[in-house]
């Protein structure tokens, strides 16, 4: 069970959160202008990284806020958290 540092509420047990998958997949502003391939890319294709992944979590049983997490999926270590809209930390690639 991870201990996740909600940027609003502080460290909480993983069971208070839900995972929202890969972060920074921006919903296209003009979906109708995309080809089927491009739309499929947005809808389904994921980096599914083994290593440092930027992802979204929601403090669903707390403040209900979504935020971003930098986590190494090869060992589950959380390296950083930051709020929605904030720039990802630069020291992780």
């Amino acid at each position: 069970m991870f201990l996740i540092n909600c940027p609003f509420c502080g460290e909480r047990d993983q069971s208070e959160f839900s995972s929202g998958g890969e972060a920074h997949i921006v919903r296209p502003k003009q979906p109708t202008e995309l080809s089927d391939d491009e739309w499929a890319e947005y809808l389904f294709m994921r980096k599914n990284i083994k290593g440092i992944q930027f992802e979204r979590w929601n403090h669903v049983h707390g403040c209900r806020k979504w935020f971003n997490v930098v986590r190494d999926t090869s060992n589950d270590k959380i390296l950083s958290v930051y709020k929605m809209g904030e720039k990802p930390p630069v020291n992780y690639k």
Partner: protein, 417 residues
């Protein structure tokens, strides 16, 4: 077969204190070039190599395994085999596999202990009943044995289930596939490895793929921890790590890799002689030939390659187990473990060509790939050999995510299998 297994060979070898058994499979160094290379030495990969050699007459094949064969999800799953899937495409695929299972021990001359003890799926709410009946009807018309059991019949078939109407989600019935069952997971990998090895397939363990070499849109070979190996056909069957390999070729796949957990109890004398699955309360259980209760849990909701997973998944599963089998409360968990499964958005697999020539993927089996092992290997071999899918795996192409023609098995597969 140079090294045929039978009771006679056992007796013969017993006389020489078992000093004269031969290697079940070889341990070669990689050659410079192969006609085809299978990346991933699990059940599916070894089966692919086996059928490529056996049915498509490719002899110069290698299987590359970064660890030890069968060490991934093949050796970590709860060994359930069934084919009672909802959609025609899935039913076709899994029943093809089930038919191969029925003769696999004899075909491989290796007892994979395929045990047709039946798989029962329980319904706990009215929508479950509709969904399972829908599946049962579809299965029957697809020629797959499936029968609907009412609550009393469920109880009769598996008396230890708590069918009291007073439990939180009472058992409202279930569907039973009698041909379904379990098999010995390790034996499947070993049997295929032995079979493939005898036909000349090189099984190369401790050889990790580090890169895919391409010339434009055509593959040329693989960079591995044992050096560069040339080939024009690469079949990737690296469940859990499919995306990692795809990234080497610059491809993204519609997959997420998540830990799936399972556990076994201490062994006890036979107490449950079938497989019971219950999607609504997230529990499934069978008993191994050693006497351990084999219990599958759910996947975590996040991407992870750690093979660990969260404790609460196991706790939730056991909660459901005790709801359905309150007699198991004093049983003890002997070990728990995790595997990494790669999951497709429609809970169906991918057995497909890619837009890179000579690069093929077999992935996305999610939580239920084991049951498909022989069928998956057979169809993937066909796809690689002919550069075209077999009609049974045509629906499981990558393009379905673009066209929208998904094979949505969430309803029928739900959390599990």
């Amino acid at each position: 077969m140079k090294n045929k297994y039978s009771v006679f060979s056992l007796i013969k070898n017993a006389l020489s204190q078992h000093e004269n058994w031969q290697q079940a499979w070889g341990n070669p160094e990689p050659k410079k070039e192969y006609e085809a290379i299978i990346v991933g030495g699990g059940g599916h990969g070894l089966a692919t190599a086996y059928y490529l050699a056996k049915k498509h007459n490719l002899k110069n094949i290698a299987v590359l395994e970064k660890g030890w064969i069968g060490g991934g999800n093949t050796g970590r799953n709860t060994t359930i085999i069934r084919s009672n899937y909802l959609w025609d495409a899935s039913a076709g695929l899994y029943d093809h596999a089930l038919k191969l299972w029925e003769n696999l021990s004899q075909e491989l001359n290796y007892n994979v202990m395929f045990s047709q003890r039946g798989v029962m799926n329980l319904a706990h709410n009215l929508q479950d009943v509709r969904d399972l009946k829908r599946r049962t009807h579809a299965n029957r018309l697809n020629g797959i044995d499936a029968v609907w059991l009412n609550t009393e019949e469920v109880k009769k078939f598996c008396p230890i289930i708590n069918t009291s109407p007073d439990i939180r989600y009472p058992v409202l019935g279930g569907t039973l596939q009698r041909r379904a069952g379990t098999a010995r997971h390790d034996a499947v990998a070993w049997g295929y490895a032995r079979g493939a090895s005898e036909m000349g397939v090189d099984i190369i363990q401790n050889c990790e793929v580090k890169g895919i070499k391409r010339n434009g849109d055509i593959v040329e070979g693989l960079d591995t921890t044992k050096g560069f190996i040339k080939t024009n056909k690469i079949g990737v069957v690296a469940a859990g790590h499919s995306s990692v390999i795809a990234n080497m070729a610059g491809l993204k796949l519609p997959l997420e890799s998540k830990p799936l957990q399972a556990l076994v109890s201490e062994p006890v004398k036979p107490i449950i002689d079938t497989v019971v699955m219950s999607n609504a309360v997230h529990a499934y259980v069978s008993q191994s030939d050693k006497g351990e209760l084999v219990i599958g849990a759910g996947t975590d909701s996040y991407v992870s390659y750690t093979q660990r997973g969260s404790h609460n998944i196991v706790e939730e599963t056991l909660k459901a187990i005790l709801e359905l089998y309150p007699i198991f409360s004093r049983m003890k968990m002997l070990r728990q473990w995790g595997g990494i499964v790669d999951i497709c958005p429609d809970a169906s697999p991918i057995i497909s060509k890619t837009n890179i020539k000579g690069l093929y993927f077999n992935c996305g089996w999610g939580t239920g790939g084991f049951k498909a092992t022989p069928g998956s290997g057979d169809l993937f071999a066909h796809t690689i050999a002919n550069d075209e899918p077999h009609k049974l795996n045509a629906a499981f192409n990558l393009n379905r995510f673009v066209s929208g023609d998904l094979v949505d098995e969430h309803g029928a597969a739900a959390v599990a299998h």
